[in-house]
């Protein structure tokens, strides 16, 4: 499992419009070459925003993914609304032993 790889993929969707178009047209092909596990691949193929949030995707990358995949913002937010409070986004330095992210 590689959150980094998921986010690397979404980042590319955001900065390469041609790659985003390819993902919309041939999603499996666009994902080839990324070292993703089955859950990550499934979530990215399905547009499963709740799964992406659970695995720790950065909120801005959630929006970038939604835009690349043409998921309307209200629909994106509807999917993740039940997950309020699941993750704490902190800039404050974490205390020793505390996990900044609760997956």
């Amino acid at each position: 499992m590689s959150l980094y790889e998921v986010q690397r993929f979404i980042h590319r969707l955001n900065v390469e419009p041609a790659f985003a178009a390819r993902f919309r047209e041939a999603p499996e092909e666009a994902l080839a070459g990324y070292a993703l596990d089955e859950a990550e691949r499934t979530a990215l193929l399905a547009g499963d925003m709740a799964a992406l949030w659970r695995m720790g995707v950065h909120p801005l990358l959630m929006l970038h993914y939604g835009r690349a995949r043409r998921i309307p913002l209200p629909e994106l937010l509807r999917q993740i609304e039940p997950l309020r409070g699941l993750r704490q986004l902190r800039s404050a330095r974490p205390r020793a032993g505390a996990d900044a992210r609760r997956p």
Partner: protein, 268 residues
């Protein structure tokens, strides 16, 4: 000696341009930008130093600078094709940018630098409202307000002081624009939650000109207002350049459908 002829602070939420909102709220926010634009035009700057933040456009977590200054002859943006804003080259100002960069290094703050920065809504949206003709060269400064660890508020303030030193050593007329915030959590399940109490406290400190109190705001307090609130760093950097000025808030409007507590202010 150079002169800071305007210092404008504002939100940069893409919603302002594209998402629906109650018409009176939209009009109030746009009127705030129009007031700031009039001030900017009257000030006749030769260059705008625009402080915004990175949003996973130029950088990803494989390489993420705390600060990056655009020193090129041109930048490009906005990268989003959904804002209804013209996309294309934005003129830079390499000479002034180099001076800012060298002055920062002399002062022991070392921003990364780029000959060709990509701009997004963070810079392009406010500048679309403030200088729609795009005829004033722009030096963009991007700060990391996205992936902790973030530059500390005091470090942003220090960089602002060094920007002031660079302008003092220059000969031209400079406008400072700082964009981001206030309370918001875009893309999180908490999207649409706006911590109005935080926003009012922050704007009150700005109006008092209490930079020390702003720099001392605890990270935990900012976190509670939502991760997008980390973007007040841009306001702090600009404040560092004009610590003798006080804020005048042109508009504050919490707009849940824009997912943001939206403000436009000037330091004078």
């Amino acid at each position: 000696m150079g002169e800071i002829v305007a210092a404008i602070l504002c939100s940069h939420a893409p919603g302002i341009a594209v998402y629906p909102a109650p018409e009176e709220k939209r009009q109030r926010v746009l009127a705030g930008f129009a007031q700031a634009r009039a001030l900017l035009e009257a000030a006749r700057p030769e260059v705008i130093l625009a402080v915004s933040c990175e949003h996973f456009v130029n950088f990803n977590v494989d390489n993420f600078p705390a600060f990056c200054l655009g020193i090129g002859a041109a930048h490009y943006g906005p990268v989003e094709d959904t804002l209804g804003i013209p996309v294309g080259d934005v003129p830079g100002h390499p000479e002034f940018a180099r001076l800012v960069l060298e002055t920062a290094y002399d002062g022991d703050v070392e921003p990364a630098f780029s000959e060709h920065l990509l701009l997004d809504h963070g810079t392009s949206l406010p500048l679309h409202y403030l200088n729609p003709a795009r005829d004033i060269p722009v030096v963009p400064l991007l700060q990391n307000c996205l992936v902790p660890p973030l530059p500390r508020l005091a470090r942003c303030y220090r960089l602002g002081q060094l920007i002031r030193q660079a302008i003092d050593a220059w000969r031209g007329r400079v406008a400072l624009v700082g964009t981001g915030g206030l309370s918001h959590s875009p893309g999180a399940p908490e999207s649409g939650y706006i911590d109005e109490a935080f926003d009012h406290e922050f704007l009150t400190l700005l109006e008092r000109g209490d930079a020390a109190a702003i720099v001392a705001i605890p990270d935990e307090r900012i976190d509670r207002a939502g991760f997008g609130t980390w973007e007040i760093r841009q306001w702090v950097t600009v404040l560092g350049a004009v610590p003798e000025r006080k804020g005048r808030v042109l508009v504050y409007e919490p707009v849940p459908s824009w997912l943001t507590g939206c403000a436009v202010a000037v330091l004078e």
